[in-house]
Symmetry: C2
Subunit: 340 residues, 2 copies
């Protein structure tokens, strides 16, 4: 049985979407069990509404407090021990039968709790976020780190490459992932000191398939499976991609409504535009997993609906089933040995 | 008379597009004169094809060599003194009557030549690129620096804010431009050391209207007129925006061709899609000006057509007409005085 704890009180659509997501994930996998943290009365009501109730595979742990998005992370994790997020973190940390956690709540508090309470896998310098985006040829691309570490050393980026490669292989079935370094140009000598050094470290790292530098414009080209970056530029990369796609689709919609002729034409293309919107909807691609944490942590987007929450739970489930954490530890050990 | 020198042999469509762009700019402004650098026989032939010839306002300076895009910048500017780019740089540097230069050639060589041969305005730490992108509400946004300085100090970012503000006011008529700092979150304490320090420096800088941090997803929102960033993340920001928009429009086109129904609907929307493509075509918004250079330098995109080249020349023309360089020097002096 894979046991995953879900923080039910985080995200714009919580607790409804979170609980519905849990129920949907439970239906898909017979060997999945869930612990829901949050106000037990509310959770029970929500379950009853869906005709569900507590069972061997679904239990509730009461947590009356909620961490808001604007609370200072260090204060929140110190003062709100009875919050749905911190209860989930405590279970993850102390209960050996719990293998992963999913939260849709405050990213800052979650990163803080992960680092200070959950700790790191053996050999990991810094845990890093690795969200997944769709590529234009129907594939996916992982970005690691997308914001957990705004200041990085070349060795961090080397570890992001190893952890991200194992993640894509084990959870998404990508064989021998093509790893690129986010940079300002294609040549090895491009970029600041960090990126020039990271290039040479990545080029000589065993166990990854490093294919060179990648510029921002090529993220969605389908030529890369994993893009390695410091958390600052990775954050810019991911948010700019999402923002540009959404703004452009919004503009097209506004323009359609500006003309009767366009509106008429669009009648025949409704399905296509819905498809494009779904295609660029990052909710469909799951949450950002925090690679390198001692136990699996998946952070869903704040606006996650039930489907998005369910995808996050599946990511955590697959990480456990594929023994990803052990594989990462084994591979990082190999790198360390080689360097010595 | 405003005299601008154009490097005719750089860019995918050179020399044809470059020369056609020059002729178009000359038609628009009676007080504009151009010097064309490059192989004089080829330029003369190209002019003859358009029914044009040398005149008081159009002269040719022979330069038989060409700097390629893959040449090492420092070697190129040292060894190819007879190239169209270096001839243009020499004219800019030595001829007091020449007020600006436009090149579509190698960015690396141009940056190198600008720094080593042309020098900086009084008080400028580092010249920076400031390209312009369209926003979704029909406005524009400037990004400074987009790649000239991959390693930055907070004072550089402060200067980018001042130089960019004066540029937007004088060349684009933006009143009191709203300046944002590219960062990973909205709060003042977000980001790495550079960005935390830059935030507090910008917040206390006179002569700019600093409105806080901006995340990558909001670049096209129309809420900001100028985004200040280090050259590394600025490069990621600009290339990712351009890349995502182009990839998405390409995908929509492919999807339209996948179904007869979509193709039929698209017949009524042809004009709209052409408009979207034109809207996101960065060529329409001119080149990246190099703010802080001792004299005006505009770098056009490698794929510039005649229209794009003409827009670049107009940018240089407006910079001179508005006395932008003097205004930047005056304003930077004020900041320095305040700090002392």
């Amino acid at each position: 049985m894979v046991k995953i704890v879900l923080d039910c009180f985080g995200g714009d659509k919580s607790p409804g979407a979170n609980i519905a997501g849990a129920l949907s994930a439970l239906q898909k996998h017979d060997d999945l069990a869930m612990i829901l943290t949050g106000d037990e009365t509310v959770i029970r009501e929500e379950l009853a509404r869906s005709g569900a109730s507590e069972s061997e595979r679904l239990c509730i742990v009461h947590a009356p407090e909620i961490i808001g998005c604007n609370e200072k992370p260090t204060d929140a994790i110190r003062l709100k021990k009875e919050s749905s997020m911190m209860k989930a973190v405590q279970l993850l940390r102390k209960d050996d039968t719990v293998s992963g956690m999913v939260s849709i709540g405050s990213t800052g508090a979650l990163v803080c709790a992960a680092v200070l309470r959950v700790g790191r896998l053996r050999g990991v310098c810094r845990p890093a976020f690795c969200p997944i985006l769709p590529t234009m040829n129907g594939g996916i691309v992982g970005i690691c780190d997308s914001g957990a570490n705004v200041e990085c050393h070349p060795e961090y980026l080397q570890q992001f490459a190893v952890m991200g490669s194992r993640y894509l292989e084990n959870v998404y079935g990508v064989e021998n992932p093509r790893v690129a370094l986010l940079n300002v140009g294609a040549e090895a000598e491009k970029g600041d000191t960090l990126h020039i050094e990271a290039y040479s470290v990545l080029a000589s790292t065993d166990g990854i398939r490093f294919v060179g530098n990648m510029e921002g414009r090529d993220l969605l080209s389908g030529e890369y499976d994993l893009v390695v970056c410091d958390g600052f530029s990775g954050n810019v990369l991911v948010k700019t991609t999402e923002g540009t796609a959404l703004e452009l689709l919004k503009k097209i919609k506004t323009d359609i409504y500006s003309s009767g002729l366009y509106k008429f034409g669009a009648l025949f293309m409704k399905k296509m535009f819905e498809h494009e919107k779904e295609f660029m909807n990052y909710q469909n691609y799951g949450g950002s997993v925090m690679l390198g944490s001692a136990k699996t942590i998946v952070k869903g987007h704040g606006s996650s609906n039930a489907k998005a929450v369910s995808v996050c739970i599946e990511q955590a489930y697959k990480m456990e089933k594929s023994r990803l954490c052990e594989k990462i530890e084994e591979d990082l050990e190999k790198i360390t040995n080689i360097e010595m």
